[in-house]
């Protein structure tokens, strides 16, 4: 610590992910109001502002904010309808909730000094598990035991079907892991890299390069934030299709 202080480098890329109580105290209990609470609340407030205030006039010719709300609606609605088919449209509100939460959390995380809730596996694992359990339960409720037919690839020769079934089952259970780690990993890595590079700005010689790199990375991270929200959502739709679209794979 003291060495870093003397050299002028204060690079703590992981400090931005620390959960802190907002109103003092050291202990973080499950109910403690923390920076997690703050940034989730900001996200919820912004979503409410966009979707409720933006559309409050219900204009035939939309205002700018109403246009954005309608765009989000149309985007997610089309995605659900195209990927899961007509059967899946009734799960549109859940998908919309997921998409809005992830999108707003990711983009808000790019504000300087903010806290990125989706950079934590605790959050993304819960999201992914909700999808995984929801899809699995829904699959069994809709198709009964026939849902297991998903793992029995009838289009393959009989001899290799057991092998394929094993692979399919493994890949099925890996889904929530990849689903959650992908999002958290992308968010964490991008923010950490920006922080590390920004730390070099205290070296006068390289600071112009640093500023350029941070700007470029920031643009890239903006893209990643939106794309990861999209990826998470469309994968949710793909998983959902297995449950509602029958056992055909």
């Amino acid at each position: 610590m003291s060495e870093e202080a003397t050299t002028g480098f204060q690079i703590h890329p992981m400090d931005q992910f620390i959960v802190k109580p907002l109103f003092g105290g050291d202990h973080v209990a499950w109910y403690t109001v923390t920076n997690v609470t703050l940034w989730m609340a900001i996200g919820v407030v912004l979503i409410a502002a966009l979707l409720m205030l933006g559309t409050r006039r219900r204009a035939i010719v939309p205002s700018r904010s109403q246009s954005v709300a309608e765009l989000l609606y149309g985007f997610v609605h089309n995605m659900v309808e195209e990927v899961t088919g007509h059967e899946g449209v009734k799960y549109f509100p859940y998908i919309m909730t997921l998409f809005l939460f992830i999108l707003f959390s990711n983009v808000l995380g790019l504000l300087p000094l903010s806290y990125t809730v989706t950079s934590h596996v605790a959050v993304t694992v819960v999201l992914a598990l909700m999808v995984f359990l929801g899809v699995t339960i829904l699959g069994f409720v809709k198709n009964g035991i026939g849902f297991l037919g998903m793992f029995w690839v009838t289009s393959a020769p009989l001899a290799i079907r057991p092998v394929l079934a094993l692979i399919e089952i493994i890949s099925y259970f890996v889904r929530p892991v990849s689903h959650s780690i992908r999002l958290a990993g992308n968010m964490m890595a991008g923010h950490a890299v920006i922080k590390v590079i920004a730390g070099f700005a205290s070296l006068v010689v390289v600071s112009p390069v640093v500023i350029g790199s941070v700007t470029a990375l920031y643009g890239l991270e903006m893209l990643v934030a939106v794309v990861q929200a999209y990826v998470f959502t469309i994968l949710t739709c793909v998983y959902l299709r297995d449950a509602v679209g029958g056992a055909h794979h």
Binding site: M1, S2, M52, Y73, P93, H120, V126
Partner: protein
């Protein structure tokens, strides 16, 4: 300030004495309940916003807009049809008007032609009458002249005959002069 860091597992904290992170804060299990609890609260809040207010409202607006557009398109189609009808009517009226104008022009032309013909005929008649009068006068003058010439020829012939020592009666001289005049 002691630089001795807390042991992650032993102390059960994920930050050191300087407030810096120890390892990856993402793996700090102590914070999990807090994050999960607030995540569920946020998700429920968003879900309520989405299902109670936003989606029905936006869906209604979109449906209404689709309806309005369909209606407007139908109305536009109808108006287009009516415009076409009006255009046809207009064209018809235009054709009629053109035809009428043609008729009027033809009538006017005919009138003018008739007047012209009449005037020409009258002028021709006038000219003919004048010509006749003039010809008559010319004939008279010519006849007069012929007579005078005959008279003069007779007298001259008589005088010439007399001068030459002939004795000619008036009748033979006249006959001779007439015969010459004819020849």
């Amino acid at each position: 300030m002691s630089s001795e860091p807390y042991l992650e597992e032993a102390a059960g904290v994920c930050v050191n004495s300087h407030g810096g992170a120890i390892g990856m804060p993402q793996l700090c299990t102590e914070w999990f309940p807090n994050q999960i609890f607030w995540l569920l609260v946020a998700l429920v809040a968003i879900y309520l916003i989405v299902t109670r207010v936003a989606l029905p409202r936006i869906g209604a607006v979109l449906a209404e807009r689709r309806g309005t557009i369909t209606n407007d398109l139908a109305a536009a189609e109808e108006l287009k049809l009516r415009a076409k009808e009006a255009e046809a009517e207009y064209n018809k009226a235009l054709a009629t008007a053109r035809e009428d104008a043609g008729k009027i022009v033809a009538a006017a032309k005919a009138d003018i032609q008739a007047d012209l013909d009449k005037a020409l005929a009258k002028a021709d008649a006038d000219i003919d009458a004048r010509t006749a009068v003039s010809e008559k006068r010319i004939a008279e003058i010519r006849a007069g002249a012929m007579e005078s010439v005959t008279e003069v020829a007779k007298d001259t012939a008589k005088e010439l005959v007399a001068a030459l020592g002939g004795n000619a009666d008036a009748r033979s001289i006249t006959a001779a002069v007439n015969a010459r005049m004819k020849g």
